[in-house]
């Protein structure tokens, strides 16, 4: 039940991400490369959706990116203790879909997962799928 719920949330996020990226990139110039796209997600996209940028972007230059948000807005309303840690994934699922949908419309197929180590910080892992 819980798993299905998360999947639905992720697909909703996916749809919204696709729609959003379409509207954002209407007037922007073409992206240079994959890293350029990821930086766009971390800065412009994240700012428009969450009013702040991603705090830290790391990559192994082989298709894996880790986006770290130290004060993820969907989690800041919950208390910082351990009690809500098990519910955090539901809130992250939508956002994972958002990222995956955005990338999808920019021509990038990916798998996005998220983990919360300590509220309200969380990390999104993006694995680019070579088509």
């Amino acid at each position: 039940e819980n798993g299905r719920c998360t999947t639905k949330l992720e697909s909703m996020g996916f749809r919204v991400g696709q729609g959003l990226i379409e509207r954002f990139t209407k007037d922007t110039t073409r992206f240079k490369d994959e890293l350029d796209i990821m930086k766009f997600i971390c800065k412009d996209f994240w700012t428009t959706v969450f009013k702040k940028q991603i705090d830290n972007l790391r990559t192994n230059h082989q298709g894996i990116y880790v986006l770290q948000d130290n004060k993820f807005r969907l989690l800041t309303q919950m208390s910082a203790g351990k009690q809500y840690l098990e519910h955090a994934p539901k809130y992250l699922a939508f956002t994972c879909g958002l990222i995956r949908g955005g990338l999808s419309n920019l021509g990038i197929k990916s798998i996005v997962t998220a983990e919360v180590s300590s509220m309200p910080a969380c990390k999104f892992q993006v694995m680019i799928q070579k088509m």
Partner: protein, 158 residues
């Protein structure tokens, strides 16, 4: 835009989950209710409106303050009964349907914005006003305007 798109995705998902339009409508209303009972706190805190002394004042506040605050639009209000407890809000612009052109043929009875009815109903209940809220007309269904009807029922005992 994020809000409007997310609402659309929510409705789309509900349509996948439920075959019948009435079930989707009921679900939206229920979700709206859940939002409304909490939203009222936020509304009262941010708007600092005085206690409304009549149904008419309440309807005006909903249209001119609440709708403006949360959706950025101001529906026009008119009283539609001699008894003074039935009102109608006419939405000229409805941001929730910005990206919706028309309802698909198989979803002709879908009340796309039914969430709003639930929100209003839930919020009113929290200030001890029982009301029935429904869409009387819907542009998405081909009507000329989008009209929300609020019927105040007997005031609930405090």
């Amino acid at each position: 835009e994020l809000f409007v798109l997310t609402y659309g995705a929510l409705v789309a998902q509900l349509c996948k989950d439920y075959e019948k339009d009435e079930d989707v409508n009921t679900c939206l209303d229920r979700m709206g209710y859940g939002i409304g009972v909490r939203l009222i706190d936020d509304f009262l805190a941010r708007s600092a409106v005085r206690k409304c002394r009549s149904y008419s004042e309440t309807a005006d506040t909903i249209a001119q303050v609440a709708f403006k605050m949360y959706l950025g639009v101001t529906p026009s209000v008119s009283c539609s009964s001699a008894a003074g407890n039935e009102f109608s809000l006419i939405l000229d612009k409805n941001p929730l349907v910005d990206f919706v052109e028309e309802l698909p043929a198989e979803r002709a009875s879908l009340c796309y914005c039914n969430l709003l009815c639930g929100v209003i109903r839930g919020a009113l209940e929290m200030v001890h006003l029982a009301a029935e809220v429904t869409f009387l007309q819907d542009r998405l269904k081909g009507d000329a305007v989008t009209e929300i009807g609020i019927t105040f029922l007997r005031k609930a005992e405090d």
